[in-house]
């Protein structure tokens, strides 16, 4: 087997050195009734296969999927198709990044630690916050952790969720809260912030969770909500699922958020059917010690030379065990790396231009689609995503478009199956990858589907 360096002769010599008669002698502690027999097909699974064969099988499976790059593509709602420079993927595959462990031995992990420190700084800058951690699994679990953190900070146990929050994020918070024994007040779905979230905040409220742009693409001014939250002693958690939007819109920090969680997939990471992604998590310095997740910090060695270490680990499970701020252990290291490389390649100029181009393309698309008979764009202000109403059920329209080779968006009924009034809505995203031809194709296909 190509991955196993031991030869039969090695195995024999090693068993001899150990003083074991055969390999079975090393497994004596396994209860006899639970041992698998020693035939070479111990379980009903296929035998080893050559690289060529494995690659062929997987390539065939992959071929049964329609990839985003192969068609006019307008699907968003929490994950976005962006162009990632080839440099990013090259660098994250460097052996020294890809095959390193968590940087517990800092002297031989400065590469990882320094990029995490740079990543934390970039996240703090982007979100307009003071500090950021070295990532969460993704935006949705980060959102869950943010609610728990707010409950620790405020010592209250109720979270108010905006109706513009991504329904799957809401589900994650609800699930965590259910098992953790706290309360969630989730407002009904709201396209354009028409909900009265301010009056949902009371003196029991630990936090208000508001997404902008929201899951329907609509931009939300967080300032009034922050004010109301703070007046009630609650925290404002801002959620961003499209991090590129931060190049075009005001940062949550600027608008008064206390914790910002974001899905970082748009930068460097790629769609990958939903994971792995990278959760950004930033907050104010005063809440630092209640923050979950890993942190890289700057320090010096014996000679005063600057270096980086994992720090404040007394918050973490491997030290504090049942008193930890979170059970989180793994972060999303390699995705942080992809994110930070992409963002440092972009820089301020590239990032702002990228955001501008996304917004521009979405505007052009909205104009095109709103020109199709029966189609209405429902979100007046948006970044790179908006919601349309069509004369047919959204799921049908999206499926019919797919049959024509257009991936046209996400039917709201998939996200909110019980919101009957939203059954004819589709969330449509457009990024820098879309061309005029893509828009032509979409417009034409949509006309046909609705005809």
């Amino acid at each position: 087997m190509r991955y196993l360096p031991l030869t039969e002769a090695d195995r024999k010599a090693m068993l001899k050195r150990i003083g074991a008669k055969d390999i079975d002698a090393l497994f004596v502690d396994v209860p006899p009734e639970a041992r698998l027999d020693s035939s070479d097909r111990p379980v009903e699974l296929p035998r080893r296969r050559s690289e060529l064969e494995v690659e062929r099988t997987l390539t065939r499976m992959a071929g049964r999927n329609v990839s985003a790059g192969a068609v006019p593509f307008f699907v968003g709602a929490g994950a976005y198709k962006h162009h990632v420079p080839a440099t990013v993927d090259h660098l994250i595959q460097r052996s020294e990044f890809l095959t390193a462990y968590t940087p517990y031995q800092p002297e031989v992990s400065q590469g990882t630690l320094q990029y995490l420190f740079e990543f934390q700084t970039q996240v703090a800058l982007l979100t307009g916050m003071e500090v950021a951690n070295a990532s969460m699994y993704d935006g949705s679990t980060g959102c869950g952790e943010a609610v728990l953190m707010a409950e620790r900070v405020t010592k209250r146990r109720k979270a108010v969720l905006s109706g513009g929050l991504h329904p799957q994020y809401r589900a994650v918070v609800e699930n965590l809260s259910h098992f953790g024994g706290s309360t969630v007040h989730a407002l009904p779905p709201a396209l354009n912030g028409e909900e009265d979230i301010v009056s949902a905040i009371d003196s029991e409220t630990a936090c208000v969770v508001v997404q902008t742009p929201n899951v329907y693409g609509s931009l939300t001014d967080l300032e009034p909500i922050a004010r109301a939250a703070h007046e009630n002693g609650a925290l404002l958690i801002a959620v961003v699922t499209e991090v590129v939007s931060l190049g075009a819109v005001r940062s949550p920090g600027e608008m008064g958020a206390d914790i910002v969680v974001a899905e970082g997939q748009s930068l460097g990471v790629g769609l990958s059917f939903g994971g792995p992604y990278v959760g950004l998590f930033a907050t104010r310095e005063k809440f630092l010690r209640q923050m979950p997740g890993r942190l890289a910090g700057e320090t010096v060695d014996g000679e005063g030379k600057r270096g980086y270490v994992l720090t404040l680990s007394t918050r973490e499970q491997h030290i504090r065990r049942e008193r930890a701020t979170s059970n989180i252990c793994t972060n999303s290291g390699l995705c942080c790396l992809a994110f930070t490389i992409h963002l440092s390649l972009l820089g301020e100029k590239g990032f702002r231009d990228l955001a501008r181009l996304n917004h521009h393309n979405a505007c052009l698309l909205a104009d095109r689609l709103s020109g199709v008979k029966g189609v209405e764009v429902l979100t007046p202000t948006f970044f790179n995503e908006f919601t349309i109403r069509t004369p047919k059920p959204g799921a049908e329209v999206v499926e019919a478009l797919a049959q024509k080779g257009i991936l046209g968006g996400v039917p709201v009924s998939r996200l909110e199956p019980t919101a009957d009034a939203f059954g004819d809505l589709i969330v449509v995203a457009s990024t820098e990858v879309n061309t005029d031809e893509d828009r032509d194709a979409y417009e034409t296909a949509l006309k046909e589907v609705l005809a």
């Binding site: 991955y3 494995v54 198709k81 609800e174 270490v309 440092s344």
Partner: protein, 493 residues
Amino acid sequence: IEEPLIFEVGSTEVTGVDIDLPEAPENRLGTLAREQGIGLPGLSEPEAMRHYVRLSRKNYAIDLGIYPLGSCTMKHNPRLNEKAVRLAGFGDIHPLQPESTVQGALELIDTLAHWLKTLTGLPAVAMSPKAGAHGELCGMMAIRAALEARGEPRSIVLVPESAHGTNPATAAYLGYKVVSVPAREDGTVDPEAVKERLSEDVAAIMLTNPNTCGLFEPDVREIAEAVHEVGAYFYCDGANFNAIMGRTRPGDLGVDAMHINLHKTFSTPHGGGGPGAGPVVLSEALAPFAPLPFVVHDEDGFRLVESLDDDAAGEAFGRMTAFHGQMGMFVRALAYMMSHGADGLRQAAEDAVLNANYVRACLKDTFSLPYNHDRPCMHEVLFDDSFLKGTGVSTLDFAKAMIDEGFHPMTVYFPLVVHGAMLIEPTESESKASLDQFVATLRRLADAARDGNTERFTGAPRYTPVGRLDETRAARHPILRWTPEQNASQAAE
């Protein structure tokens, strides 16, 4: 040579990404348009390339040599897997595309689920957890959901002293009281100690098997039976599944739930700290409570159950994460499994155990074994620091001195049940020659320690980009990000 931070070399004017911007871009952002600058430094592509390549060279990696971290399972990461995950049909598909356009992806998840269930002998698997600790949370939630469904939530979870920190943290999160189970003299769990602590108020035991001392729990079935007898569940921490795959099935040991670290056992790379993936296999009793989403298969092909309102959702307890789990890790893990096959996975487990026992045999006269028995270890071998007694060299010093010899240290000070623990897991990826070299170096170091060559240890590491770092200072005066002020003050120094 110190590599400056991107903030010290980059400029907000420079970019390594050209954007073909139209001359008059649209603007419908209203009052929320960004007005302030962000302060993001940009690097041209050649500058970025150098920055990250240079940084990478400050890291140790499996591809450079043995990475003997106990409990971490640092094995070879095949590049076939990296290639497979980058196929457009896997890497470039959206989680919310119509199901008709992702049949291959759903098939892959279903196939991987089949492998995991077959290898563990358990009937169900929740695929969505994002990492091992997330899988633990998922498994314990399933247990809690099952108990709630029975109308008896219970309040206690038993956790052996030697457990990973995630175990008590998870139990505590779910509101359980954690009751510790001490280890026997020989490093294993005493079924009597478990029984003493069992009651109708115990929800579950969380056991790692093979345990963190590298031993297979010989009384695991007895413990499982006792746990089941009081109506509690057996959660198994699957971090060490690498030692036993193909040799025994957790289902046959009485396990009700076990997470599988795809990044350990099935070699999706660790990536400097993640991402991982932690699917959880579940017993018959827990299967109905598996969270959303999951894949079902009917005559029309594969379909995702994503909502509690879906008829097929049954008693699903909710949702662990947005979307469907760590697809990128699924592809890698399946490629790894198919490459090995059932026979190769068993061989891998055997080689991992053989390698650990070989290291043990070669070092047992030089190092000190905490447990005085001849029982073989599994995939990792645990030493304590008694061989360093009186040398003035600590476990940490010893570990740092290994760095100067070109090796990554083993896991130190874990498990907590042993003083100055040194936990070595070579994995099946090491050749005999590699182990011989490793062993020879450790013996040489142990000799040096005994010979009073203390300075070599306390001053280590010497040949690294930085020396031992002041971790106390980092924690007392946290600097967690670069700021222009800090930079200015440093320049002034």
